[in-house]
Structure formats: structure tokens, C-alpha cells
Symmetry: C2
Subunit: 186 residues, 2 copies
């Protein structure tokens, strides 16, 4: 599937992809997840259903592709102050986004795809953002958890709770971060 990766910008393939993605987003915003069909998406995007079937295979793959695209961060984590403050701010925003109705749906769409491309993208995006935060901390000489530590003990619990419908308290995220940071003090 070479289409998915890097269709030449401006080409017909890219235009179709953009139209279909937009169509999916519009439709998902309007109607219930279970009523979405490929013919419907095709109609709104002004393409033939067979185009979508040929490019994406089935609805799950298409939704996963769209979700992965939406999960791509638009900017680096904002600079607030210390590395820890930047981390808290970014993670909280990330958790809120993922815990929202659409966020959860995107997560599930990404995970239910057979093909692993979207899941990988999703993970890479997140890791890149964390890497930026880690690099900043290193630059300013602050002690800071590494990528593994953050993934295992901050990101994982949050995502797990979202996926498995566990309640996430008001300052759950802050507490997770506090625990991870505390390891340097003991």
C-alpha cells in the first residue's frame, strides 16, 4: 500500500485522500459510529465506493487511518516553565483529548485495525512529543524520567483507564507525574 504513506502532494491521489478523510471527519461528527458506511463516505467525498475499497480495504482500516492522522500533533508541547511543568501541562492536555468521546473513539479505531501502521504512528507521535520534553530537561540540566519510565508509568495507566472505562479523577494525572518525579528524591 504505497498510497497511505506519501502520495505526492497536489496529485490526484492526495486530493482523493484529503476528500475522503474530510468526509469521514464530517460524518463522524454528525452521526453515530455504527451508522457510518463506506458508500456514505464515498458519496460525501465525491468518489466511488470502489475507490475507497481499493485504497483502504474496509471501514476499519479507513477509520484507523483517519484516526491516526488526527492524532498527529500539530505543534510541540508548549513551553510553560520547568520541564516538569511542561510535562504536566502536556500530559494533561493529552489525557483530556484522549478521554473525550472522540478521543476514545480514535484510540479504539486505531487499535481495531488489523494493519499495524496506524498503531505505530500513534505511538511514534506520542513518543516524539515526550522526546521533546526530555530533550528540554536535559538541555537545562534538570533530572527527568526517561522515555520508558514515562510510557510505563504515566501514559500507560492513563490510556488503560480510558480504554477500559475506569474513572479518572481530577488530579489523577498530576499524581502519576508526582510519583514518577519522586523517584529522584528518595
Amino acid at each position: 500500500m504505497s498510497h497511505r504513506e506519501n502520495p505526492r502532494p497536489g496529485g490526484r491521489s492526495a486530493r482523493v485522500q484529503a476528500a475522503v478523510h474530510q468526509s469521514v471527519r464530517d460524518i463522524l461528527a454528525t452521526m453515530d459510529r455504527t451508522d457510518v458506511t463506506i458508500p456514505l463516505i464515498a458519496q460525501r467525498a465525491n468518489v466511488t465506493p470502489s475507490t475507497i475499497y481499493r485504497r483502504w480495504g474496509d471501514l476499519q482500516e479507513l477509520l484507523a487511518d483517519v484516526a491516526a492522522a488526527r492524532l498527529r500533533p500539530e505543534s510541540e508541547p508548549p513551553r510553560i516553565g520547568s520541564a516538569r511543568e511542561d510535562l504536566e501541562s502536556w500530559i494533561e492536555q493529552y489525557a483530556d483529548e484522549m478521554a473525550s468521546g472522540v478521543g476514545r473513539q480514535m484510540l479504539r479505531d486505531v487499535l481495531s485495525s488489523t494493519d499495524g501502521t496506524s498503531v505505530e504512528k500513534c505511538r511514534c507521535y506520542m513518543q516524539q512529543q515526550l522526546a521533546v520534553l526530555i530533550a528540554r530537561a536535559e538541555k537545562s540540566g534538570e533530572r527527568f524520567p526517561d522515555l520508558e519510565e514515562l510510557m510505563d508509568h504515566v501514559i500507560s495507566p492513563i490510556i488503560y483507564r480510558i480504554l477500559f472505562d475506569c474513572p479518572i479523577g481530577e488530579d489523577y494525572v498530576r499524581e502519576l507525574i508526582a510519583k514518577v518525579m519522586q523517584k529522584f528524591k528518595g
Copy 2:
């Protein structure tokens, strides 16, 4: 949907459910996930497709239901020795099961269902097993992490890595447990 919950044992409804579940398991063992269809499942289970559509709605829901049923533990965590040893043994077995091809697929099936019933079951099963271990520790007076601690810092990282295709090293699980237990020593 009252069927899903507690069909009277021995009734027709229960027989159909068992036949369909078995059919799904057989088919999943044989062929690729993307080639599985409801008419196929129905045929092998000797029921009409409409029966399946009426009871489960669609393939995703059916697969989620079957997966949740398969994730139900058959027995309590085995007694090895100390509470910690019991925990290590059970978690390792749990992680292996989930990380296997079928385990991963079951997880994804459970998560991709729209209805939250299966996801809840899956979580409850796991929590019950952990609760048994916690109760044992309490009985024998050993210091032991609570449910939240185990979910957040042992189960979550494992499941996250499985879902997002991160490598899980040989003694990754043991290290997670070591970290969690260590908090009592500092």
C-alpha cells in the same frame, strides 16, 4: 439485550449461544481474522445468519462477546508461596496469554466493540484475580500493593505495550513487580 447476560442453562437460547461461540472459536483458529463472516459462523453453528444478527447485531459485537467469554479465568491464581511469588507467577502467565497472537486479538476484539459490556467484564475478571492475591497477602500479613497500584503500574504497562506493539523483554514483568514492591522498602 437480556440474552447476553444469563440465559437459562439448558434452554434453547443457551444452546444456540454455545454453538455460535464454539463456531467462532473454531473458525478463528483456522482462518484469518479478515475472512470471518457471520454467514460462515452461522453455517458452522447450524443456525441462520438472522439469528446471529438479531442477537449480537454485528460481527464486532459477536467477536467481543466471544473474546470476553474466553478471557474469563477458569481458576484462581495458583498458590506458589509468598504473596509476591503468587503475583509474579500469575502476572507472567497473564502477560504471556495476552501477548500471544490470540490474546492480542481477543484484547482488540473486546476493545473495538461499541457496547461496553465486554470491556467491563474483561476488567472485572482481571480485578477479581488481583483481589484474590491481595486478600491472600492481607491474610498472611504481608505488605502488598493495593488494586490501584497494581493496575496502574503493572497491568497497564503490560497491556499498553501489547496493544501498541512495543517489545516486552524477558524479565520486563518481573521488573515491574520489583518496582512496585520496592516502594515498601524505601
